[in-house]
Each structure stands twice: as structure tokens, then as C-alpha cells.
Symmetry: C2
Subunit: 224 residues, 2 copies
């Protein structure tokens, strides 16, 4: 098998991971919309997207495995393929969190409508953008962008803390809202964890890019 | 490098992962104890163990990477090494969940003492045993044991649902307990997620063992 063929397979692996990332982002966006609008049709759509994400996860893993089994990738490619395997798991878990969120979209019929002091929609959008940028940083080998993703996580952590505090006060003041407030808390924590997964991805990218740098230096040293 | 040397390295990787698993289990046990006893000294101990777990995670990853980079592992060993990389991440996240739990050990000074309708101690012990058995199933290549771990997860999920329901009723009846009840909810959900990670590990073990089976059949077919 030629080296060119190998790089075609590597490109195919990247494409597959990108496709998975886009499906995961769509699942997350739909889940937040389902929760904000209490829309059962959107919940069904989330479940459908989750099945696609799970299928993609297996496909990415098998492609990565085949590459490792049939080729002997050099250090830089090996680190990339291992990063893909880790990032693949992170994306799959973002899908699980989207399910957590959409499960809170439909409350029992006697639950009161309350306006919550939290803009879950904005928080969801932030989390989704973090995932997108983390994947972009992988595909463009951009460690600076990955570092930006990690900094963005502080903001989403702060939003989650604010959410927790204000929902706690709300629950303490009025027992009628315990359930919807608790649902909002779970959604907020889930989004905060999406941010953590984006951070994991960004950290893997930085490690991979720095690994490459080290290797490039080693090659230069060998050539001297 | 000889094949014997390779298998020594593989055995060293197993030992390292086992060491990490044992530290993670100890961290989880200490975190639950810290929470149940509201003990700040135990919280400090959890933080110490977390640093050891994080260090071990990097070491396991580097050992796995070196094995892949310097040897050309055959399919069965390749699948094992990739399983170790995935399981390594799961264990590291169990450590993060232990931190989540121990962070709820110390409530602000004016928080009332309440007796919660949940035995967090038993739930924590279940979760820890699941992690231990999942790692045992890996080391003993025991798919039946891994399947038992997956079945145990239903029990811990049910415990978490019960916890959620009774804490919700408690919160609805009395706003004084909102904070401690919320802390208990977070701890319960964290333990439920530990169970999920043990399940992930068990699933990877089953996939790996079945992968080996497939390979063994392929060898027999080739020999005919």
C-alpha cells in the first residue's frame, strides 16, 4: 500500500470525524431548542440524530483501527489517529448530553410555567460554538485556536455557576417551581459539561500539534 | 526487539492501568466518605489522589503510545492497547466525578443539618465495585463478568431515580433543605455517571474479547 493511499485514508478519517462533529453539533442545537420550546417533535429528532452519532462513532473507530492495523503510521500520524480516537469519544458523549437535555423538554402536565432567570439558549449556542471551534482547531492544526476554546470554557463555567445560584434562590423562595428549576439546573450542568468535552478536544489538539513540533525538531536534529 | 520483550511491555501496561484503577477507586471511596462525614481533611486527600490519577493517566497514555509507535502489534494486541487508551480516559473521568462529589462535602456555615432519605454510602460502594469489576474483567479477559457489570448499572440507575424523586419531594415540602438536597442530587448523579463509565469500560472489554474471538476464528480458517 503506497504512502499516497495512506494519506487518502487519513483524509477520509478527517472527513468522517468532521461529519460526525457536524451531526453532534446539530443534535445539541436541536436538543436545546427542544428544551426551550418544549417541543416533542424536536425531541424525536434528537433521538434520531443520536442514533446517527452513535453509528458514526463506531465507523470512525473502525477507520482509525484499520489505519493502525494495516499501516505503520509514523509518530506524527500515530499521534493524530490516537487524538481522533479520543476526540471521537468526546463527541459521542456530547451526544449523550444532548439526550440528557432533550429529556427535560417535556415536563409532566401539571408542571407550572415559570420564566427562569437564565438564558439557556445563549448558553447552548456558546457550548455548540466551542465544539465547532475545537474540531476546526484539529482540522487546521491550529493550537492558538485550541487555546481560545479552552479560555471560552471559563465563560461557560461562570454562566453555569450564575445559573445554579439564581435557580437555588428561586427554589428556596417558591416550592412550586422546584421541578422546572431542577430541570433547568440539569440542562445548565449538561451544557457546562459539553464545554468540558470541547476543552478535552482542544487539549488533545494542543498535545498533538506540540507532539508534531517535537517530532519536527527531532527531524531537524537528525539532519544536522 | 523481541516478541518476549513486547509481551513484558504489555504486562507492564496492564500493571500500570491496574495501579491507576486502584488509585481511582480509592479516590472515589474517599470522596464519598468526605461527603458523608463533611470532612475537610478527606477533601484534601481526594485532591491529592486526583493529582496522582491525572499523572497516571498521562503515563498510561505514553506507555500505550510507545508500544504502538515502536512495535507493530498484531490485531489482538492492537485492540487491547486501544481499549486501554479508552479505559484510561474513563478512569480519569471517574476521578473528575470524585472531585465533583468531594466539592459538595463542605456546605456554607449556615446550612441546616438534614437527614436525607438516601443512602449515598451504599450507592458509592456499588459504583466503586462496578469500576473494580470492570477492570478485573479486562485483566482476566472475562466477557461474562463485563456483562454482569453492565447489568449492575440498571440497579444504580434505579437508585439515582429514587434519589431524585425523594429529594424533589423533600425540596417541594421545605425550602430550608434546598441546598443540602441539591448537593445530594449532584452527588447521586455523579455516582450514576461513575456507573456509566464502568459500563463503558465493560463494553470495551466485551468488544475487545469478541474482537479476539473473531480473530481466532480467522486464524483457524486460514489454517484449513
Amino acid at each position: 500500500m503506497t504512502r499516497i493511499h495512506f494519506h487518502q485514508q487519513l483524509a477520509a478519517l478527517k472527513d468522517k470525524l468532521l461529519e460526525m462533529a457536524m451531526t453532534t453539533e446539530q443534535e445539541l442545537e436541536t436538543a436545546v431548542e427542544a428544551y426551550v420550546k418544549r417541543d416533542e417533535h424536536l425531541v424525536a429528532k434528537v433521538n434520531e440524530l443520536e442514533m446517527r452519532v452513535n453509528r458514526s462513532e463506531r465507523e470512525v473507530y473502525e477507520m482509525a483501527y484499520e489505519l493502525l492495523a494495516k499501516e505503520q503510521p509514523m509518530a506524527i500520524d500515530l499521534r493524530f489517529i490516537l487524538a481522533v480516537i479520543k476526540i471521537n469519544s468526546d463527541l459521542e458523549r456530547v451526544g449523550d448530553l444532548a439526550i440528557n437535555i432533550s429529556e427535560r423538554a417535556v415536563a409532566p402536565p401539571d408542571t407550572p410555567e415559570v420564566s427562569l432567570p437564565v438564558d439557556i439558549h445563549i448558553m447552548g449556542e456558546r457550548a455548540r460554538i466551542m465544539v465547532g471551534l475545537a474540531i476546526q482547531s484539529l482540522l487546521e492544526e491550529d493550537a492558538a485556536l485550541a487555546e481560545r476554546v479552552i479560555r471560552m470554557d471559563e465563560e461557560i463555567d461562570a454562566m453555569n455557576r450564575q445559573t445554579q445560584e439564581s435557580l437555588m434562590l428561586l427554589m428556596e423562595s417558591n416550592t412550586d417551581v422546584t421541578m422546572p428549576a431542577l430541570f433547568a439546573l440539569i440542562v445548565s450542568r449538561s451544557l457546562e459539561r459539553v464545554g468540558d468535552h470541547a476543552t478535552n478536544i482542544a487539549e488533545d489538539v494542543i498535545f498533538w500539534v506540540r507532539g508534531s513540533d517535537v517530532r519536527h525538531r527531532a527531524i531537524l536534529a537528525d539532519a544536522e
